[in-house]
Subunit: 263 residues, 2 copies
């Protein structure tokens, strides 16, 4: 229904031929994600060098893992088409969703710290991923200051994302968390040129709950409640946001953990 339900993209065939039906040649400088992904703001020459180190652009089936917890770390992964969830693993095997990632996002940074991935990344739909070998990336970054800077920013942004999530999990009540989650999705879809008000949830209720520190029943109930209140419309995984201002108010205006205002 919505534009983003499909991942159709404009032509991605490069100008220099050599494209087969089953394996279309993709390059950074012809990729529509140029402005979202790692190479923002680098010049043409640098772009080609970055392109050269992306040796693999792999297809990942829905439900398959880009990498697993404990795998030796070797590369970051940039999502070209599709989406995935990342998870953290507790000592006793408990798993929690740590992130939902879409087109242009980079995942796998948790592997840098200990040379092994700490969690796993699982495709939520058939996806296409650029594999960025980390040692070559690091080496290249030494010569390309803008790339170096971008790489550090990507890491730092993930740190900030984590901090904001801590705030969400530590100080927000269930309905605030869900509102923040929906608004975050809305914004990210808009940034990618999709509808900000109508989109498909690629995560199950359970995954959303895991991500937000809630039970799946709570998520389901809240969505129903939001719908009853005219904030949105839900039909399975399809969500239509009807009242963004009200959602924004719910997401924060009351102040985190503020006194409950009985309306």
């Amino acid at each position: 229904m919505s534009a983003l339900a499909s991942n159709a993209r404009p032509s991605i065939a490069g100008p220099q031929g050599s494209l087969s039906l089953h394996h279309i040649k993709v390059h950074c400088h012809t990729c529509s994600l140029r402005e979202l992904c790692l190479p923002v703001g680098v010049d043409q020459d640098a772009l080609q060098q970055i392109d050269a180190l992306v040796t693999e652009r792999i297809h990942v089936k829905k439900g398959a893992a880009l990498y697993r917890a404990g795998d030796p770390f070797s590369a970051l992964h940039a999502i070209r088409v599709g989406s995935c969830k990342t998870t953290v693993l507790g000592e006793q095997g408990h798993e929690q969703v740590a992130g939902y990632h879409m087109t242009g996002d980079i995942v796998g940074m948790d592997g840098i710290a200990s040379d092994r991935y700490a969690g796993q990344a699982v495709a939520l739909e058939d996806s296409e991923v650029c594999v960025l070998p980390y040692d070559r990336l690091e080496e290249l970054a030494r010569h390309l200051a803008p790339l170096h800077r971008n790489l550090d920013k990507v890491l730092a942004t993930e740190i900030v994302r984590g901090h904001n999530l801590m705030l969400l999990l530590g100080s927000f009540r269930a309905e605030e968390r869900l509102a923040v989650f929906l608004l975050d999705l809305s914004q990210r879809y808009r940034e990618r040129g999709y509808s900000a008000t109508e989109f498909m949830l690629r995560l199950t209720r359970e995954d959303i709950g895991s991500y937000l520190g809630l039970q799946l029943e709570t998520v389901s109930r809240l969505l129903s409640r939001f719908q009853a209140g005219g904030l949105l419309q839900v039909q399975g995984r399809l969500v239509k946001l009807l009242d963004l201002p009200a959602l924004k108010q719910m997401a924060g205006d009351s102040g985190a953990r503020g006194p409950i205002v009985h309306a």
Copy 2:
């Protein structure tokens, strides 16, 4: 009482004189944190270069901020003596403790993402901090591969710390969170040569609660409960861990959000 209650350190005077009473000259290569801080594993020559970029080693009074939310980002801060807490700031002004940092830790990474600090860092006692100008650090890292690697690891470790905290806040119950917190402190004090079982909490109950997503009353109650159960002894901020195995079991054995076992 305990060794770690004081921050007394062995002599820090360098060999090359030039030390005044009020401003003792400190250098990376004579700093006792060499093995904990940024320059782990770099050679003598590189160490001198890192040392050269640390233009300031500032003293921060208890309660004073190393940096504030919104300040333009210019430097990372390495804690040489003392400790601090870092916080995240919500849109509506709500503040939550995001980290407790001690000797050798590096703070201020949240500023890299947007060239402004997202939260603030506040000293919990009179402390001494090395200021690491970021642009010079980045520049130097381009020539010193080991430093580059260390810097990235520091960032990545912060990412993993964030992920683990998400897990803690999203999937653990109150007593599990507190047990994890205490064990984390225990381990970090041990790594620094202090007692792993007897230490001073530098955070108030409120700060601990904020960090763990709990109310201060809950923290207080839990500490009392732990004491009643013989797990530890508390007297204000002084904590003596009496039963580490039991604490560890409480921290995870039940499995996060696992079924409550009525003993």
